[in-house]
Protein backbone atom coordinates (compact mmCIF):
# COMPACT_ATOMS: atom_id res chain seq x y z
CA UNK A 1 0.00 0.00 0.00
CA UNK A 2 2.81 2.34 0.96
CA UNK A 3 4.59 1.63 -2.32
CA UNK A 4 1.44 2.26 -4.39
CA UNK A 5 0.96 5.49 -2.45
CA UNK A 6 4.46 6.73 -3.14
CA UNK A 7 4.11 5.85 -6.85
CA UNK A 8 0.83 7.83 -7.08
CA UNK A 9 2.39 10.71 -5.20
CA UNK A 10 5.44 10.71 -7.48
CA UNK A 11 3.19 10.52 -10.56
CA UNK A 12 1.30 13.56 -9.29
CA UNK A 13 4.49 15.47 -8.70
CA UNK A 14 5.77 14.58 -12.17
CA UNK A 15 2.46 15.88 -13.61
CA UNK A 16 2.80 19.07 -11.54
CA UNK A 17 6.11 19.63 -13.36
CA UNK A 18 5.25 18.10 -16.73
CA UNK A 19 2.22 20.25 -17.56
CA UNK A 20 3.75 23.65 -16.70
CA UNK A 21 7.04 22.58 -18.34
CA UNK A 22 5.09 21.57 -21.47
CA UNK A 23 3.48 25.01 -21.57
CA UNK A 24 6.91 26.62 -21.28
CA UNK A 25 8.53 24.38 -23.93
CA UNK A 26 5.78 25.01 -26.51
CA UNK A 27 5.98 28.75 -26.05
CA UNK A 28 9.76 28.93 -25.96
CA UNK A 29 9.86 26.96 -29.21
CA UNK A 30 7.39 29.36 -30.83
CA UNK A 31 9.27 32.40 -29.54
CA UNK A 32 12.53 31.06 -30.96
CA UNK A 33 11.42 29.65 -34.28
CA UNK A 34 8.06 31.29 -34.94
CA UNK A 35 7.42 33.84 -37.67
CA UNK A 36 7.05 37.40 -36.37
CA UNK A 37 3.81 39.20 -37.23
CA UNK A 38 2.42 42.51 -35.99
CA UNK A 39 -1.17 43.17 -35.04
CA UNK A 40 -2.53 46.68 -34.61
CA UNK A 41 -4.02 47.05 -31.15
CA UNK A 42 -5.62 49.21 -28.47
CA UNK A 43 -5.25 48.25 -24.81
CA UNK A 44 -7.53 48.37 -21.76
CA UNK A 45 -6.43 47.16 -18.35
CA UNK A 46 -8.33 44.58 -16.28
CA UNK A 47 -7.15 42.43 -13.37
CA UNK A 48 -6.81 38.70 -12.74
CA UNK A 49 -6.95 37.40 -9.17
CA UNK A 50 -3.94 35.14 -9.58
CA UNK A 51 -1.91 36.56 -12.40
CA UNK A 52 -2.17 40.22 -11.48
CA UNK A 53 -2.78 43.15 -13.76
CA UNK A 54 -2.77 42.80 -17.50
CA UNK A 55 -3.57 44.87 -20.51
CA UNK A 56 -6.44 43.47 -22.52
CA UNK A 57 -5.50 43.99 -26.15
CA UNK A 58 -8.28 44.97 -28.46
CA UNK A 59 -7.14 44.01 -31.97
CA UNK A 60 -8.36 45.47 -35.19
CA UNK A 61 -9.65 43.15 -37.90
CA UNK A 62 -10.52 40.14 -35.78
CA UNK A 63 -14.07 40.05 -37.12
CA UNK A 64 -14.66 38.05 -40.26
CA UNK A 65 -17.52 38.03 -42.70
CA UNK A 66 -18.19 34.70 -44.36
CA UNK A 67 -21.00 33.44 -46.55
CA UNK A 68 -23.93 32.04 -44.60
CA UNK A 69 -23.76 28.83 -46.66
CA UNK A 70 -21.48 27.26 -44.11
CA UNK A 71 -22.62 26.74 -40.53
CA UNK A 72 -20.38 27.97 -37.73
CA UNK A 73 -21.10 27.63 -34.05
CA UNK A 74 -20.14 29.64 -31.00
CA UNK A 75 -17.23 28.12 -29.05
CA UNK A 76 -16.27 25.90 -32.01
CA UNK A 77 -12.55 25.15 -32.39
CA UNK A 78 -11.14 26.65 -35.63
CA UNK A 79 -7.88 27.66 -37.28
CA UNK A 80 -7.55 31.36 -38.04
CA UNK A 81 -5.58 32.01 -41.22
CA UNK A 82 -3.33 35.04 -40.98
CA UNK A 83 -1.88 37.11 -43.81
CA UNK A 84 0.48 40.08 -43.65
CA UNK A 85 -0.82 43.22 -45.35
CA UNK A 86 1.19 45.78 -47.31
CA UNK A 87 1.09 48.19 -44.32
CA UNK A 88 3.16 45.70 -42.27
CA UNK A 89 0.31 44.59 -40.04
CA UNK A 90 -1.19 41.12 -40.02
CA UNK A 91 -4.88 40.37 -40.49
CA UNK A 92 -7.07 37.34 -40.04
CA UNK A 93 -8.37 36.56 -43.51
CA UNK A 94 -10.23 33.30 -43.12
CA UNK A 95 -11.10 30.44 -40.81
CA UNK A 96 -10.91 26.70 -41.35
CA UNK A 97 -11.97 23.61 -39.46
CA UNK A 98 -9.04 21.67 -40.91
CA UNK A 99 -5.46 22.45 -39.91
CA UNK A 100 -3.87 24.28 -42.87
CA UNK A 101 -0.89 22.51 -44.45
CA UNK A 102 1.21 25.64 -44.77
CA UNK A 103 1.19 29.36 -44.10
CA UNK A 104 0.49 31.36 -41.00
CA UNK A 105 -2.37 30.21 -38.82
CA UNK A 106 -3.29 29.77 -35.16
CA UNK A 107 -5.76 27.63 -33.26
CA UNK A 108 -8.65 29.38 -31.56
CA UNK A 109 -12.39 29.32 -30.86
CA UNK A 110 -15.34 31.25 -32.19
CA UNK A 111 -16.47 33.93 -29.75
CA UNK A 112 -19.76 34.80 -31.43
CA UNK A 113 -21.67 34.33 -34.68
CA UNK A 114 -24.09 36.94 -35.98
CA UNK A 115 -26.22 36.74 -39.11
CA UNK A 116 -26.06 39.84 -41.33
CA UNK A 117 -28.24 39.38 -44.44
CA UNK A 118 -26.75 36.55 -46.45
CA UNK A 119 -23.48 36.72 -44.54
CA UNK A 120 -22.27 35.62 -41.14
CA UNK A 121 -20.21 37.90 -38.95
CA UNK A 122 -17.79 35.82 -36.92
CA UNK A 123 -15.89 37.13 -33.92
CA UNK A 124 -12.86 35.10 -32.89
CA UNK A 125 -11.27 34.59 -29.49
CA UNK A 126 -7.70 35.88 -29.70
CA UNK A 127 -5.25 33.64 -27.80
CA UNK A 128 -2.70 36.47 -27.44
CA UNK A 129 -4.88 39.31 -26.21
CA UNK A 130 -3.38 39.62 -22.72
CA UNK A 131 -0.21 41.52 -21.96
CA UNK A 132 0.75 40.96 -18.30
CA UNK A 133 2.53 43.97 -16.92
CA UNK A 134 3.78 45.22 -13.56
CA UNK A 135 1.19 46.23 -10.98
CA UNK A 136 1.82 49.94 -11.54
CA UNK A 137 2.65 49.90 -15.27
CA UNK A 138 -0.53 48.22 -16.57
CA UNK A 139 -2.92 51.11 -15.76
CA UNK A 140 -0.42 53.58 -17.24
CA UNK A 141 -0.26 51.72 -20.54
CA UNK A 142 -3.98 52.18 -21.02
CA UNK A 143 -3.85 55.84 -19.93
CA UNK A 144 -1.02 56.66 -22.35
CA UNK A 145 -2.86 55.08 -25.28
CA UNK A 146 -6.09 56.84 -24.40
CA UNK A 147 -4.58 60.29 -23.76
CA UNK A 148 -2.30 60.75 -26.71
CA UNK A 149 -4.03 58.50 -29.22
CA UNK A 150 -0.66 56.81 -29.69
CA UNK A 151 -0.57 53.92 -32.12
CA UNK A 152 0.39 50.57 -30.73
CA UNK A 153 1.00 47.12 -31.99
CA UNK A 154 1.68 43.68 -30.63
CA UNK A 155 4.52 41.52 -31.84
CA UNK A 156 3.32 37.93 -32.06
CA UNK A 157 5.23 34.79 -33.01
CA UNK A 158 3.34 32.06 -34.82
CA UNK A 159 4.49 28.47 -35.28
CA UNK A 160 2.45 25.34 -36.08
CA UNK A 161 -0.87 26.80 -34.97
CA UNK A 162 0.41 28.32 -31.73
CA UNK A 163 0.56 32.09 -31.41
CA UNK A 164 2.55 33.66 -28.56
CA UNK A 165 2.58 37.35 -27.72
CA UNK A 166 6.21 38.43 -27.58
CA UNK A 167 6.01 42.13 -26.86
CA UNK A 168 3.71 45.11 -26.90
CA UNK A 169 5.00 48.24 -28.64
CA UNK A 170 4.24 51.90 -28.04
CA UNK A 171 5.56 54.27 -30.72
CA UNK A 172 7.71 51.48 -32.16
CA UNK A 173 9.36 50.79 -28.79
CA UNK A 174 8.79 47.79 -26.49
CA UNK A 175 6.69 48.82 -23.47
CA UNK A 176 9.44 48.26 -20.81
CA UNK A 177 11.91 50.30 -22.90
CA UNK A 178 9.38 53.07 -23.50
CA UNK A 179 8.78 53.46 -19.76
CA UNK A 180 12.50 53.23 -18.98
CA UNK A 181 13.30 56.07 -21.39
CA UNK A 182 10.74 58.28 -19.75
CA UNK A 183 12.13 57.47 -16.33
CA UNK A 184 8.77 56.36 -14.95
CA UNK A 185 8.48 53.07 -12.99
Amino acid sequence: MKQVGIIVLLALFVAQWWIPAGMIAERENTLRKGKIVRFKTEPIDPIDVFRGKYVDLNFENTTLRVSSGQLWQRNEKVFAIVREHFDGYARIVNISRKRPVAGLYFETRIESVQRLGNQLQINLQIPFNRYYAGEFIAPDIERIYAEAGIEGWAQVRILNGLAVLEELYIQNKPVPEWFKERGSH
Binding site: K2, G5, I6, V8, L9, L10, A11, L12, F13, A15, Q16, W17, I19, P20, M23, I24, R27, L31, D48, V49, F50, R51, G52, K53, Y54, N75, I126, P127, F128, N129, R130, Y131, Y132, A133, G134, E135, I137, A138, V164, L165, P176
Partner: protein
Protein backbone atom coordinates in the same frame (compact mmCIF):
# COMPACT_ATOMS: atom_id res chain seq x y z
CA UNK B 1 -9.44 21.41 37.17
CA UNK B 2 -6.62 19.28 35.76
CA UNK B 3 -4.04 20.85 38.07
CA UNK B 4 -6.26 20.34 41.10
CA UNK B 5 -6.81 16.67 40.34
CA UNK B 6 -3.11 16.05 39.72
CA UNK B 7 -2.20 17.90 42.95
CA UNK B 8 -4.71 15.86 44.93
CA UNK B 9 -3.37 12.52 43.68
CA UNK B 10 -0.57 12.03 46.31
CA UNK B 11 -3.01 12.80 49.11
CA UNK B 12 -5.63 10.41 47.74
CA UNK B 13 -2.93 7.75 47.43
CA UNK B 14 -1.65 8.21 50.99
CA UNK B 15 -5.17 8.11 52.39
CA UNK B 16 -5.83 4.89 50.48
CA UNK B 17 -8.79 6.31 48.52
CA UNK B 18 -7.25 5.11 45.28
CA UNK B 19 -4.56 2.58 44.53
CA UNK B 20 -1.35 3.28 42.60
CA UNK B 21 -2.66 1.83 39.33
CA UNK B 22 -5.72 4.12 39.38
CA UNK B 23 -3.51 7.11 40.21
CA UNK B 24 -1.31 6.36 37.20
CA UNK B 25 -4.35 5.95 34.98
CA UNK B 26 -5.76 9.31 36.11
CA UNK B 27 -2.40 11.00 35.55
CA UNK B 28 -2.04 9.44 32.08
CA UNK B 29 -5.59 10.49 31.16
CA UNK B 30 -5.08 14.15 32.04
CA UNK B 31 -1.66 14.35 30.43
CA UNK B 32 -3.02 12.74 27.27
CA UNK B 33 -6.02 15.07 26.93
CA UNK B 34 -3.84 18.13 27.33
CA UNK B 35 -1.53 16.94 24.55
CA UNK B 36 -4.47 16.32 22.25
CA UNK B 37 -5.89 19.72 23.14
CA UNK B 38 -2.66 21.56 22.45
CA UNK B 39 -2.13 19.53 19.28
CA UNK B 40 -5.54 20.61 18.04
CA UNK B 41 -4.66 24.25 18.60
CA UNK B 42 -1.33 23.69 16.88
CA UNK B 43 -3.14 22.06 13.95
CA UNK B 44 -5.57 24.99 13.60
CA UNK B 45 -2.73 27.51 13.65
CA UNK B 46 -0.63 25.44 11.24
CA UNK B 47 -3.55 25.32 8.79
CA UNK B 48 -4.26 29.03 9.17
CA UNK B 49 -0.58 29.82 8.78
CA UNK B 50 -0.24 27.72 5.63
CA UNK B 51 -3.40 29.27 4.15
CA UNK B 52 -2.14 32.79 4.78
CA UNK B 53 1.37 32.03 3.48
CA UNK B 54 -0.09 30.34 0.36
CA UNK B 55 -2.41 33.21 -0.44
CA UNK B 56 0.31 35.72 0.39
CA UNK B 57 2.68 34.15 -2.14
CA UNK B 58 -0.08 34.28 -4.78
CA UNK B 59 -0.58 38.00 -4.13
CA UNK B 60 3.16 38.71 -4.27
CA UNK B 61 3.37 36.85 -7.58
CA UNK B 62 0.39 38.84 -8.89
CA UNK B 63 2.50 42.00 -8.52
CA UNK B 64 4.35 40.79 -11.65
CA UNK B 65 8.10 41.01 -11.20
CA UNK B 66 8.76 41.88 -14.81
CA UNK B 67 12.12 43.47 -13.97
CA UNK B 68 13.52 39.99 -13.26
CA UNK B 69 14.84 37.89 -16.13
CA UNK B 70 12.72 35.11 -17.63
CA UNK B 71 15.11 32.46 -16.27
CA UNK B 72 14.96 33.89 -12.74
CA UNK B 73 11.16 34.01 -12.85
CA UNK B 74 11.01 30.42 -14.11
CA UNK B 75 13.23 29.23 -11.27
CA UNK B 76 11.03 31.16 -8.84
CA UNK B 77 7.87 29.61 -10.27
CA UNK B 78 9.04 26.06 -9.63
CA UNK B 79 10.72 26.64 -6.25
CA UNK B 80 7.62 26.40 -3.99
CA UNK B 81 6.47 23.37 -5.96
CA UNK B 82 9.85 21.68 -5.59
CA UNK B 83 10.19 22.36 -1.86
CA UNK B 84 6.67 21.22 -0.94
CA UNK B 85 7.01 18.09 -3.08
CA UNK B 86 10.29 17.18 -1.37
CA UNK B 87 8.75 17.63 2.07
CA UNK B 88 5.65 15.58 1.18
CA UNK B 89 7.77 12.71 -0.14
CA UNK B 90 9.86 12.87 3.04
CA UNK B 91 6.75 12.76 5.24
CA UNK B 92 5.35 9.84 3.27
CA UNK B 93 8.56 7.81 3.51
CA UNK B 94 9.10 8.63 7.18
CA UNK B 95 5.41 8.00 7.91
CA UNK B 96 5.21 11.32 9.68
CA UNK B 97 2.53 11.35 12.34
CA UNK B 98 2.59 15.09 12.80
CA UNK B 99 -0.73 16.24 11.39
CA UNK B 100 0.05 19.97 11.62
CA UNK B 101 3.15 19.44 9.46
CA UNK B 102 1.54 17.27 6.76
CA UNK B 103 -1.59 19.46 6.63
CA UNK B 104 0.35 22.69 6.26
CA UNK B 105 2.78 21.34 3.66
CA UNK B 106 -0.02 19.84 1.55
CA UNK B 107 -1.86 23.19 1.70
CA UNK B 108 1.32 24.90 0.54
CA UNK B 109 1.67 22.38 -2.31
CA UNK B 110 -1.96 23.10 -3.23
CA UNK B 111 -1.07 26.79 -3.53
CA UNK B 112 2.32 26.16 -5.18
CA UNK B 113 0.52 24.97 -8.36
CA UNK B 114 -1.30 28.26 -9.10
CA UNK B 115 1.87 30.18 -8.20
CA UNK B 116 3.76 28.22 -10.87
CA UNK B 117 0.94 28.57 -13.43
CA UNK B 118 0.57 32.31 -12.74
CA UNK B 119 4.24 33.01 -13.31
CA UNK B 120 4.26 31.04 -16.56
CA UNK B 121 1.13 32.91 -17.71
CA UNK B 122 2.81 36.23 -16.95
CA UNK B 123 6.07 35.35 -18.70
CA UNK B 124 4.39 34.10 -21.89
CA UNK B 125 1.36 36.43 -21.78
CA UNK B 126 -1.05 33.51 -21.91
CA UNK B 127 -4.57 34.63 -22.69
CA UNK B 128 -6.46 31.67 -21.23
CA UNK B 129 -9.35 32.72 -19.02
CA UNK B 130 -9.77 32.21 -15.30
CA UNK B 131 -11.91 29.09 -15.89
CA UNK B 132 -9.09 27.30 -17.75
CA UNK B 133 -6.64 28.39 -15.05
CA UNK B 134 -8.83 27.00 -12.25
CA UNK B 135 -9.41 23.76 -14.15
CA UNK B 136 -5.65 23.17 -14.61
CA UNK B 137 -5.13 23.92 -10.94
CA UNK B 138 -7.82 21.40 -9.92
CA UNK B 139 -6.43 18.79 -12.29
CA UNK B 140 -2.90 19.13 -10.91
CA UNK B 141 -3.93 18.93 -7.26
CA UNK B 142 -6.73 16.36 -7.45
CA UNK B 143 -4.74 13.34 -6.15
CA UNK B 144 -3.66 15.37 -3.13
CA UNK B 145 -7.14 15.02 -1.63
CA UNK B 146 -6.45 11.31 -1.13
CA UNK B 147 -3.14 11.96 0.58
CA UNK B 148 -3.41 11.08 4.28
CA UNK B 149 -3.07 14.13 6.43
CA UNK B 150 -4.31 16.59 3.85
CA UNK B 151 -7.92 16.98 4.87
CA UNK B 152 -7.83 20.74 4.54
CA UNK B 153 -6.91 20.32 0.86
CA UNK B 154 -10.29 18.58 0.43
CA UNK B 155 -12.03 21.72 1.62
CA UNK B 156 -9.89 23.95 -0.57
CA UNK B 157 -10.51 21.66 -3.53
CA UNK B 158 -14.28 21.90 -3.04
CA UNK B 159 -14.05 25.70 -2.81
CA UNK B 160 -11.95 26.02 -5.99
CA UNK B 161 -14.15 23.49 -7.85
CA UNK B 162 -17.25 25.51 -6.92
CA UNK B 163 -15.52 28.68 -8.02
CA UNK B 164 -14.68 27.05 -11.35
CA UNK B 165 -18.29 25.94 -11.83
CA UNK B 166 -19.60 29.41 -10.97
CA UNK B 167 -17.05 31.04 -13.28
CA UNK B 168 -18.28 28.91 -16.18
CA UNK B 169 -22.01 28.84 -15.55
CA UNK B 170 -22.91 31.93 -13.52
CA UNK B 171 -20.28 34.63 -14.07
CA UNK B 172 -19.47 34.37 -17.76
CA UNK B 173 -22.17 32.10 -19.27
CA UNK B 174 -19.53 30.90 -21.66
CA UNK B 175 -18.65 27.27 -21.59
CA UNK B 176 -19.87 23.86 -20.67
CA UNK B 177 -18.27 21.96 -17.83
CA UNK B 178 -16.16 19.14 -19.37
CA UNK B 179 -17.71 15.71 -18.82
CA UNK B 180 -14.56 14.30 -17.19
CA UNK B 181 -14.78 16.97 -14.53
CA UNK B 182 -17.93 15.47 -12.95
CA UNK B 183 -16.40 12.06 -12.05
CA UNK B 184 -13.32 13.99 -10.89
CA UNK B 185 -15.55 15.58 -8.26
CA UNK B 186 -17.82 12.55 -7.68
CA UNK B 187 -15.04 10.03 -6.91
CA UNK B 188 -13.56 11.85 -3.92
CA UNK B 189 -17.11 12.56 -2.81
CA UNK B 190 -17.99 8.84 -2.74
CA UNK B 191 -14.61 8.03 -1.20
CA UNK B 192 -15.34 10.51 1.52
CA UNK B 193 -18.84 9.16 2.26
CA UNK B 194 -17.62 5.58 2.62
CA UNK B 195 -14.68 6.62 4.77
CA UNK B 196 -16.57 8.89 7.12
CA UNK B 197 -14.49 9.00 10.26
CA UNK B 198 -16.93 11.12 12.26
CA UNK B 199 -14.42 13.83 12.97
CA UNK B 200 -14.99 17.56 12.96
CA UNK B 201 -13.07 17.97 9.68
CA UNK B 202 -15.30 15.35 8.03
CA UNK B 203 -18.43 17.20 9.10
CA UNK B 204 -16.96 20.41 7.80
CA UNK B 205 -16.14 18.77 4.45
CA UNK B 206 -19.70 17.40 4.24
CA UNK B 207 -21.23 20.82 5.01
CA UNK B 208 -19.04 22.48 2.44
CA UNK B 209 -19.83 19.80 -0.12
CA UNK B 210 -23.54 20.32 0.57
CA UNK B 211 -23.19 24.07 0.03
CA UNK B 212 -21.16 23.48 -3.15
CA UNK B 213 -23.71 21.03 -4.62
CA UNK B 214 -26.54 23.43 -3.70
CA UNK B 215 -24.81 26.31 -5.49
CA UNK B 216 -24.07 24.24 -8.59
CA UNK B 217 -27.46 22.49 -8.81
CA UNK B 218 -29.00 25.60 -10.32
CA UNK B 219 -26.21 26.12 -12.85
CA UNK B 220 -27.87 24.21 -15.65
CA UNK B 221 -31.19 26.04 -15.50
CA UNK B 222 -31.26 28.36 -18.45
CA UNK B 223 -34.66 28.14 -20.20
CA UNK B 224 -37.19 26.72 -17.74
CA UNK B 225 -36.75 28.79 -14.60
CA UNK B 226 -39.88 27.38 -13.00
CA UNK B 227 -38.03 24.04 -12.65
CA UNK B 228 -35.70 25.66 -10.12
CA UNK B 229 -37.84 24.88 -7.09
CA UNK B 230 -38.74 21.26 -7.99
CA UNK B 231 -35.01 20.63 -8.62
CA UNK B 232 -33.95 22.13 -5.32
CA UNK B 233 -36.69 20.39 -3.33
CA UNK B 234 -35.60 17.09 -4.92
CA UNK B 235 -31.97 17.84 -4.08
CA UNK B 236 -32.76 18.60 -0.43
CA UNK B 237 -34.84 15.41 -0.23
CA UNK B 238 -31.82 13.46 -1.55
CA UNK B 239 -29.63 15.14 1.10
CA UNK B 240 -32.18 14.23 3.75
CA UNK B 241 -32.27 10.60 2.60
CA UNK B 242 -28.46 10.39 2.51
CA UNK B 243 -28.39 11.71 6.06
CA UNK B 244 -30.88 9.08 7.14
CA UNK B 245 -29.02 6.29 5.35
CA UNK B 246 -25.44 7.03 6.33
CA UNK B 247 -25.68 8.62 9.72
CA UNK B 248 -29.31 8.40 10.66
CA UNK B 249 -28.66 8.62 14.38
CA UNK B 250 -31.20 11.15 15.56
CA UNK B 251 -29.29 11.80 18.75
CA UNK B 252 -26.48 13.42 16.83
CA UNK B 253 -26.10 17.15 17.03
CA UNK B 254 -27.38 19.38 14.22
CA UNK B 255 -23.92 19.99 12.74
CA UNK B 256 -22.87 16.35 13.16
CA UNK B 257 -25.44 15.11 10.68
CA UNK B 258 -24.78 17.51 7.82
CA UNK B 259 -26.84 15.85 5.09
CA UNK B 260 -29.94 15.43 7.24
CA UNK B 261 -29.70 18.97 8.63
CA UNK B 262 -28.94 20.49 5.24
CA UNK B 263 -31.91 18.66 3.69
CA UNK B 264 -34.33 19.85 6.36
CA UNK B 265 -33.01 23.40 6.36
CA UNK B 266 -33.02 23.61 2.54
CA UNK B 267 -36.58 22.35 2.26
CA UNK B 268 -37.78 24.80 4.91
CA UNK B 269 -36.11 27.69 3.01
CA UNK B 270 -37.72 26.52 -0.27
CA UNK B 271 -41.16 26.42 1.40
CA UNK B 272 -40.58 29.85 2.93
CA UNK B 273 -39.80 31.33 -0.51
CA UNK B 274 -42.70 29.48 -2.13
CA UNK B 275 -45.01 30.99 0.46
CA UNK B 276 -44.61 34.28 -1.46
CA UNK B 277 -46.38 34.71 -4.78
CA UNK B 278 -43.38 35.76 -6.97
CA UNK B 279 -42.68 32.18 -8.07
CA UNK B 280 -46.31 31.22 -8.72
CA UNK B 281 -46.85 34.47 -10.65
CA UNK B 282 -44.05 33.55 -13.07
CA UNK B 283 -46.13 30.80 -14.71
CA UNK B 284 -45.56 30.96 -18.48
CA UNK B 285 -48.68 31.62 -20.56
CA UNK B 286 -48.24 28.41 -22.58
CA UNK B 287 -46.60 25.11 -21.76
CA UNK B 288 -43.33 24.69 -23.73
CA UNK B 289 -42.95 22.49 -26.78
CA UNK B 290 -42.75 18.94 -25.40
CA UNK B 291 -39.83 17.68 -27.56
CA UNK B 292 -37.59 20.66 -26.70
CA UNK B 293 -38.67 20.49 -23.08
CA UNK B 294 -37.90 16.78 -22.66
CA UNK B 295 -34.43 17.10 -24.20
CA UNK B 296 -33.46 20.19 -22.17
CA UNK B 297 -30.62 19.90 -19.60
CA UNK B 298 -33.05 20.92 -16.85
CA UNK B 299 -35.25 17.88 -17.50
CA UNK B 300 -32.23 15.56 -17.75
CA UNK B 301 -31.12 16.86 -14.35
CA UNK B 302 -34.66 16.43 -13.00
CA UNK B 303 -34.80 12.81 -14.16
CA UNK B 304 -31.38 12.16 -12.62
CA UNK B 305 -32.52 13.60 -9.28
CA UNK B 306 -35.78 11.60 -9.39
CA UNK B 307 -33.70 8.46 -10.04
CA UNK B 308 -31.42 9.20 -7.07
CA UNK B 309 -34.41 9.93 -4.85
CA UNK B 310 -36.12 6.67 -5.86
CA UNK B 311 -32.95 4.69 -5.08
CA UNK B 312 -32.69 6.51 -1.74
CA UNK B 313 -36.34 5.83 -0.83
CA UNK B 314 -35.95 2.17 -1.81
CA UNK B 315 -32.82 1.76 0.37
CA UNK B 316 -34.38 3.59 3.29
CA UNK B 317 -37.53 1.43 3.25
CA UNK B 318 -35.43 -1.71 2.93
CA UNK B 319 -33.00 -0.95 5.73
CA UNK B 320 -34.94 1.27 8.09
CA UNK B 321 -38.66 1.04 7.34
CA UNK B 322 -41.54 3.23 6.15
CA UNK B 323 -41.71 5.44 9.20
CA UNK B 324 -38.63 7.41 8.13
CA UNK B 325 -40.25 8.41 4.83
CA UNK B 326 -43.41 9.88 6.29
CA UNK B 327 -44.12 12.53 7.28
CA UNK B 328 -40.76 14.27 6.88
CA UNK B 329 -40.35 13.50 3.20
CA UNK B 330 -44.05 13.70 2.32
CA UNK B 331 -43.94 17.53 2.47
CA UNK B 332 -41.33 17.63 -0.32
CA UNK B 333 -43.21 15.13 -2.48
CA UNK B 334 -46.53 17.01 -2.11
CA UNK B 335 -44.78 20.29 -2.98
CA UNK B 336 -43.18 18.87 -6.14
CA UNK B 337 -46.43 17.29 -7.36
CA UNK B 338 -48.28 20.52 -6.65
CA UNK B 339 -45.77 22.57 -8.65
CA UNK B 340 -46.13 20.26 -11.65
CA UNK B 341 -49.95 20.33 -11.46
CA UNK B 342 -49.86 24.12 -11.14
CA UNK B 343 -47.61 24.59 -14.18
CA UNK B 344 -49.63 22.23 -16.40
CA UNK B 345 -53.23 22.94 -15.38
CA UNK B 346 -55.13 26.22 -15.01
CA UNK B 347 -55.10 26.60 -11.22
CA UNK B 348 -55.20 29.95 -9.36
CA UNK B 349 -51.73 30.94 -8.09
CA UNK B 350 -52.99 31.40 -4.54
CA UNK B 351 -53.30 27.57 -4.28
CA UNK B 352 -49.51 27.21 -4.34
CA UNK B 353 -48.97 30.06 -1.89
CA UNK B 354 -51.48 28.61 0.57
CA UNK B 355 -50.06 25.08 0.19
CA UNK B 356 -46.48 26.25 0.88
CA UNK B 357 -47.66 28.13 3.98
CA UNK B 358 -49.52 25.08 5.27
CA UNK B 359 -46.64 22.68 4.56
CA UNK B 360 -44.04 24.83 6.32
CA UNK B 361 -46.35 25.43 9.26
CA UNK B 362 -47.17 21.70 9.55
CA UNK B 363 -43.48 20.78 9.29
CA UNK B 364 -42.74 23.28 12.05
CA UNK B 365 -45.40 21.79 14.32
CA UNK B 366 -44.13 18.29 13.50
CA UNK B 367 -40.52 19.16 14.41
CA UNK B 368 -41.69 20.92 17.55
CA UNK B 369 -43.75 17.95 18.77
CA UNK B 370 -41.07 15.41 17.84
CA UNK B 371 -38.38 17.56 19.46
CA UNK B 372 -40.26 17.79 22.75
CA UNK B 373 -41.04 14.06 22.61
CA UNK B 374 -37.42 13.12 21.97
CA UNK B 375 -36.00 15.84 24.26
CA UNK B 376 -34.07 17.28 21.35
CA UNK B 377 -33.33 21.00 21.60
CA UNK B 378 -32.24 21.41 17.99
CA UNK B 379 -35.41 19.89 16.52
CA UNK B 380 -37.69 21.76 18.89
CA UNK B 381 -36.12 25.09 18.11
CA UNK B 382 -35.99 24.33 14.39
CA UNK B 383 -39.74 23.65 14.52
CA UNK B 384 -40.32 26.88 16.39
CA UNK B 385 -38.19 28.82 13.89
CA UNK B 386 -40.27 27.39 10.99
CA UNK B 387 -43.52 28.40 12.68
CA UNK B 388 -42.22 31.84 13.62
CA UNK B 389 -40.73 32.51 10.17
CA UNK B 390 -43.99 31.80 8.39
CA UNK B 391 -46.06 33.72 10.94
CA UNK B 392 -43.79 36.78 10.86
CA UNK B 393 -43.65 36.76 7.05
CA UNK B 394 -47.45 36.66 6.75
CA UNK B 395 -47.76 39.34 9.38
CA UNK B 396 -45.82 41.83 7.31
CA UNK B 397 -47.91 40.98 4.23
CA UNK B 398 -51.19 41.83 5.86
CA UNK B 399 -52.51 45.06 7.23
CA UNK B 400 -52.89 43.96 10.84
CA UNK B 401 -53.00 46.20 13.90
CA UNK B 402 -49.75 46.77 15.79
CA UNK B 403 -51.34 45.55 19.02
CA UNK B 404 -52.19 42.16 17.52
CA UNK B 405 -48.76 41.89 15.90
CA UNK B 406 -47.10 42.71 19.21
CA UNK B 407 -49.19 40.16 21.08
CA UNK B 408 -48.37 37.42 18.56
CA UNK B 409 -44.66 38.19 18.83
CA UNK B 410 -44.87 37.96 22.64
CA UNK B 411 -46.74 34.66 22.32
CA UNK B 412 -44.06 33.29 19.99
CA UNK B 413 -41.31 34.34 22.38
CA UNK B 414 -43.18 32.68 25.22
CA UNK B 415 -43.47 29.57 23.03
CA UNK B 416 -39.68 29.38 22.73
CA UNK B 417 -39.26 29.67 26.51
CA UNK B 418 -41.97 27.13 27.32
CA UNK B 419 -40.85 24.51 24.80
CA UNK B 420 -37.22 24.68 25.91
CA UNK B 421 -38.26 24.72 29.57
CA UNK B 422 -40.27 21.53 29.05
CA UNK B 423 -37.34 19.75 27.43
CA UNK B 424 -34.96 20.75 30.24
CA UNK B 425 -37.52 19.53 32.78
CA UNK B 426 -38.03 16.27 30.87
CA UNK B 427 -34.29 15.70 30.60
CA UNK B 428 -33.89 16.21 34.37
CA UNK B 429 -36.65 13.75 35.26
CA UNK B 430 -35.13 10.94 33.17
Amino acid sequence: MRKNVLKALPELLSQGVIDEATAKKIEAYYLDTTTTGSQKILLIFAILGALLVGMGIILIIAHNWDSLSTAARLVLSFTPLFLTQLLLIYFWIKKSSSQPLTESVSILNFFAVPVCLSLISQIYHMASGLDAFLLTWLFLTWPLIFFPGSKMVRLLFIIVATWYGCELRYFTFEGDIPMWFLPLIAIPFLHFIFQNENKAQDYLTAWLLGISITIMAGAFIKSYHWLLFPLYILLFSIFYLSGQLYSGNRKKLFWQNPWLSFGQLGFAICCFLLAYDFYWNSKPSAFPDLTTFVSSPEVVQLIFFIFLLSVGIHLLIRYKGWKYIFPELSGSLIMIILIFIFFTLPIPFKTGVIAANIILFTSGVFYLVMGIKEKDFARTNFGLICICAITIARFFDQDISFIIRGLVFILMGAGFFTANYFIVKKQKTT
